[in-house]
Structure formats: C-alpha cells, structure tokens
Symmetry: C2
Subunit: 387 residues, 2 copies
DNA sequence: GATAATTCGTTCGCCGTAGGAAGGAAGTGT
DNA sequence: ACACTTCCTTCCTACGGCGAACGAATTATC
C-alpha cells in the first residue's frame, strides 16, 4: 500500500456515493439471492425512488435478473429480482512448484472454467494470457484475481513471509493488476483457506477463526473481525515456529514445533509403527492404526496433546473462538476431534471450539473469490477519515 | 453490538455525507494542529468552495480557532486555523478494587480534571454523577467515556474475559451510555494501554503492535491494523496461559506461564536472593542485583529467556512487528532489553522489535481518549456495505 | 512606488442526486 | 364490483458539491 501520491479525491464525491449505493444493493442482493425492490429498500435504507433507476441499471448490466411476481398476502405482488452470480467473476491462480493452476469462478464459488499450465517463461505473462483466455466472453465481468502463493504448506523454497513478500510486493501482483486492470491479491494459501472457510465454509457464522493447516509444515490462517490478518510482516500464523517445548529444535527455516508434529514428521513415525510404504494420509493411517495398536494409540495421544497445546497457544494470544482443522489435521475422526476439543477446553482461557474445516481443496478457491469480491469494495474504505 | 432492529437508514443520506466531511476536516485538523484552508483542501480532497461554509461552522462550534496569517512565500498569506483540543473531551474511568478514578481529558490526552471516588453504592450512579460534575461547562463537548476494568493485572476476582464481560456486556457500559448519551467503551486496562501506546506512545508509527504488560499477572494488548483486537470472547492477550513449558502448571485462574514469570513470582525469587523486604519494583531490583551477584544474573537470564519465548510465541501467531514492554517489564534497563531483543530475533519467524512502552501510567488515559474519539467516528462504519 | 504576479479565500450558480408525494399497477378480501 | 393493500414508478423539489469567476492580500519586478 505504498501511498504513492494519494490522489486527494473528495471523500464524498458524487461518483463515490453512487458507487456506494450500487455496492449496497449488490451486496444485499448477493446475500439474499432473490428479493423484491421493497425488500431492498428495507435492507439498504435507500428510498424506492432512488432504487428504481439504480435497479434498472443493474438489470441492464446483468447483475440482476427480473423474475416473475413473488408471493404476496395482499396488494400488488412484488416483482422479484434474482442476483446473477455470473455477473461477477474472479480468477484464482494457484502457484505450485512446477505449474500454475488457474480457475475462473462466479461469486458463488462455482468454477466456470479451469486449466493447469506448466510453469514456463514469465509467470506474469502466463497469468495474463491464461486468465483472459479462460474467461472468454466473461472477461468484462472479471472483478479480481487472487494469487495463492505456496506458503507454509510447501515446505520448500518459498516458505517464510519475506520470501512470499518477494512475490507479493510488486513483481507479480502489481504487474498483473496493471495488465489486467482489476484488483489483484497475492497471499499464501493458508490465509486464502481461512478466508474461504470464513466466507463459505465452517466459519460463516463467526467473525473470528483460526484455520490450522497441517501439511509438510504447520501454518495457520487468522481471521479477526471478519478480516484475514497477516500481521506486520505477513508472518502471522507461522505457528510452526512456536517454542512450545524447550527440547524441540527447528532448523533451516523449519520451526521447532512443526519439525516434530507436522504431517511428514508423523508419517515417519507411522512408518516405524507399521512398516511399509509411507501412507498417503499418515494421520488417517495413524487414527486407523490406533484402534488396534497400543503404541499407535499412545502416539496419537501425543500428537493430539501437542496439537492441543498449539491451539491453546493461539487461543491465548488471539482468542479466535473457533479453530478449524485443515490439511492432515482434518483427517482426524470424530472421536479424535472430540478428544482434541477436550484437551483444548481444559487449558484455554476462553471457550474455543475445535472442528474440522469443510471445504478441503475448494477452500483456496472460495478464499480467492472472497478476496476478489472484497477487493472490489476496498476502494471505498478510503472513504472513512482516519480516526 | 446487538443489532437491535437495524435502523434502516440510507447509506448515503445527506446528513451522512455532511457528517463525513466534517469528520474528515476535524481529523485532518487534529493531526496537523495548525493549518490553513488551502492545506485542508489538499488533505481532505474537498474543494475550497465546500470548505468555506464547513470551516465557518466548525469555528462557530469551537472546533477550530482562527489565528493570524501564516507565512507565505508569495501571494496572499494563508489564514491559519488551529485545532482546539478542548473542543472534544473524553472521560476515562478506571475501576479499581475499592475505588474508581475518573479523569476528563481533552483530545491531546491532557487531563483537564480528575478525581478519585470511593466505591460506594451503585457504580453506574457513581460514574454518571462524577463525570458531568467534573466536566462542568465542558459537558457538551464530552465525546465519549472509556471505562477500564481491571483485567489481567488485578490478579484478583475480575480476571478472565468472561467476568470482565459481565461488566462489559450490558450492566455498566450500556447503562452509562443511556444516561450520559455518549458512546461508552468498557475494556480491560491492558487493551487500553495498547491503544494508548498506539495512539500517542511508542506505537504511533506502526499499524500493529503487542503490548506485554507484566504485573501480578501477565497480559497483552493486541493492536492489528490499527485496531485493538479482543478476539471472539474478549480473551485475546491472555498470554499468561500460554503452555510454553510442560513443567509449569497454572491454578485457580492463574495461567501456567504467569504463575512462574509474573512480577509477583519474580519478587519472591528476588527476596530469596537478597533477603529483606519485598521490593516495590522487583524487576528493577533484580536488574540492579544482577550487576554484582552471579546468581541474580543467572536468574535474570532465565527471566529474559522465558519472556523471550512468550514474545516469540506471540510473534508466531500474530506477527505484531513491535512488542512494547509495560508494567514490570518496562523496568528492564537498556542492556537487558537489548538481550531480550537478541533472544527474540533469534527465534521469531519475522523481524520483531522489542522496546519499552513510554507512557507508563498515562497509557490507559491515552487509550481511553483514543477509544472515545474513534467511537464517535464508529457510527460511520455502518456506512460501508458488508462485503 | 506602481504594476504584475501569485496565492488564498469567498461568492455565485449550475448540475446532479436524494427522497417526498402522488399516482398507477396489480393483486386480495368482502 | 368495490374497497383495500402493497408495490413500484414518475414527477418534483430542495439541497449540496464543486467549477468558475471574483475579491483579497501579499511578494516580485521594473
């Protein structure tokens, strides 16, 4: 947010307020899906007289579709308007080690088109050709692009915030924004997952949540007051570095906690408990194993205890109220989650609910949708004077 | 924030936009203190024509005071306007075990009047008579009341968020608001300190910070993106409960970490190192002692190591970028702070600056001022459509 | 020292928008 | 069929933002 020259535009210029009204209506419609003009006056507070031309415009632009008359107890039936999710498209680009996957989704998070491209040449070029190509006719409806950089879960080169920042700072994000002309957000995938679960998953009913993603590393995405919080250096959620046990040691960009309790660390142990090929889902394998094997059960207890201390730590610092288990942690079965919950409740200073994330792979996509849609509205936040 | 019936007022009604402009100007003036109308056009983006009547109003209301002409290189000299801090007063009420202290401050945080009252009868009555009484003529300028409930630092009955919530929920805050007719914020004192340091202390230049307050308990106040974050249950910053060492055990509402590393725990140890009366400032005493006594030096090392792990834990979860030492932790001398900084830098996943808080006792007051002033502007946040 | 140049602030007036009021539209109840 | 209710639209007015012209107060220049 390098305040370049801060174009000193009036806080309440005409276009501004018009834009605000538009967004009020659109966001109300997006939530309610099918509604009448009368409901819009209630929801937005705008007068019917103001709404008439506004709605007309929105219908013309395809945001709203006029449907037949709705039910009415008495009087003229309300002419129903349906929100058209296809009116707003977003692109979600996921950077992976050797390829990028690119999806176009409507504002429901329904995938309209997707493609995977091998990583050759310039990333920016790749994105800037793939996205318009995929969007096709829908390109004018594109509202934003969200780029998920491999964060914690990669375990590879691009790992800590500073290096993600390298991608985030100007190079990719700003270049793509300039070439496509829409807002672009670059963030690590765990943050996007957290945003996704908040927008469309297991966190729609709360304003705060923490998504704990266990993979080769361990990372968390933090939503506070409805917004993803990245911290000052973008390193919020680097919970793999928590110093929860003096005995544990991290190394080479691997935090002390995740060195011992990440999916890969667990996988090794599972192999030693049940020799054979490294299982694809070591945590699930461990849960299964624990049913019959005492040593596995004991180790599972250890894992749960460790994870619970991690969760409690987060609860102490930010009190998210709800913790979502993602990645390998989502492989726990109900009883294991219950036990984890019990451990957390016993030690956390405030009620903290532990449950599994529900979106799985689609979390990043939904997060991207949510980012891109709110990025469109973000221009407005300039409106409020700084306290 | 019980959304009562959501008064469906238009997002961009005329009065609203007028109010926004007013606040834009006021907030610009508050920051710059002395400025001309020309500077206001630059800062707010409003046209000179719009400003003329607005400034006239503000002068009439006492927000701005016309001063003589300012310097000018060429052309007509700018007529300077000075922001009048007395135009906005706030009350800061601090609840203590057996009394309440009440201060009226202007928006600079300068105390205009103060009084301490023994806690007799109904708290709400007490506050609602003391505040108007203290404010006197200035009552119409009262913009808000901030009530600091003894949080972590009390070590007594009112300790965890739920119990503070008891005070916070309806009883006190809402009653006072209704009787005085101004916004009221109730929060624990550590949060207020964090807000104060952010607004007027060692954190004015950053958007994120964590204030670590060591007293009988250990608590933290968290500012992220310029706002105090309380978490879902108001228990954010309960870092005394961090499970950083399996050996430590909490009890009776005392967290495991603070049981061992709080000011009172340190005081005991200091007494055992240098028999005598319990020192008033045990940490300072320890620092002094460590200069000459090897055992004290070793123990100081332990304390610093423990605190550093606490700070690192916070850095992992929220990455505040800056940590302010408050309460007993602010008694460390420069070399001790430097060593703490080194320990933190070695283990934190992102750069984290450790320094002492600067406001001391006045932090709560400044926090109250900042709360009350932003509460006045808070009505505006309704303006933006939810994403 | 007069005149030009420059910068500030204000007044005027146009335009666009918000929203009140009234009226038409399209149903339900009696 | 008639009143009644509710919804939506059109007309109209009032008001606020801001462009433009103007007056004010100083410095630079000849």
């Amino acid at each position: 947010m390098t305040d370049v020259v801060t174009p000193p535009t009036s806080p309440v210029s005409r276009e501004r307020s018009k834009e605000i009204k538009r967004l009020s209506v659109i966001s109300a419609a997006r939530q309610v899906r099918v509604l009448s003009r009368a409901e819009l006056t209630e929801l937005t507070g705008l007068s019917p007289a103001t709404l008439t031309p506004l709605v007309r415009d929105l219908i013309a632009e395809g945001y709203l579709i006029e449907r037949g008359p709705g039910a009415s107890r008495a009087g003229r039936p309300r002419a129903m308007l349906e929100f058209n999710p296809r009116a707003e498209l977003v692109a979600a680009v996921s950077l992976e080690p050797s390829r990028i996957s690119c999806e176009i989704a409507d504002s429901d998070g329904a995938v309209v088109a997707h493609r995977t491209v091998r990583l050759t040449g310039d990333i920016v070029d790749l994105i800037c050709t793939a996205v318009p190509d995929l969007a096709g006719d829908g390109l004018p409806a594109l509202r934003g692009v969200a780029i998920a950089a491999p964060g914690v879960s990669s375990g590879g080169a691009v790992r800590l915030a500073p290096s993600v920042g390298l991608v985030e700072g100007r190079p990719i994000g700003e270049s793509v924004r300039q070439r496509l002309g829409v807002p672009v957000v670059v963030d690590n995938d765990v943050n996007l997952m957290a945003a996704g679960e908040h927008a469309a998953g297991a966190g729609t009913d709360v304003a705060d949540l923490l998504l704990l993603h266990v993979a080769d590393g361990i990372g968390a995405g933090l939503v506070l007051d409805g917004q993803v919080r990245r911290g000052s250096g973008g390193a919020a959620g680097e919970v793999g570095f928590l110093p929860l046990d003096p005995a544990d040691q991290g190394h080479d960009g691997i935090g002390p906690f995740e060195a011992r309790w990440s999916e890969s660390a667990i996988a090794e142990k599972v192999v030693s408990l049940a020799p054979g090929r490294r299982p694809g889902s070591p945590v699930r394998a461990l849960v299964d194993l624990a049913a019959a094997d005492d040593r596995a059960a004991a180790y599972l207890d250890e894992v749960l205890a460790a994870w619970s201390r991690l969760i409690v730590s987060c609860a102490c610092v930010v009190d998210p109220g709800r913790v979502l288990l993602s990645g390998a942690a989502a492989e726990l079965d109900d009883t294991a989650v219950d036990r984890l919950q019990a451990l957390v409740s016993a030690a956390a200073p405030s009620p903290t609910e532990v449950r599994r994330a529900v979106l799985g792979d689609r979390a990043v996509l939904h997060g991207a949708v949510s980012y891109a849609l709110s990025a469109a509205a973000a221009g407005l936040s300039t409106l409020l004077p700084a306290p």
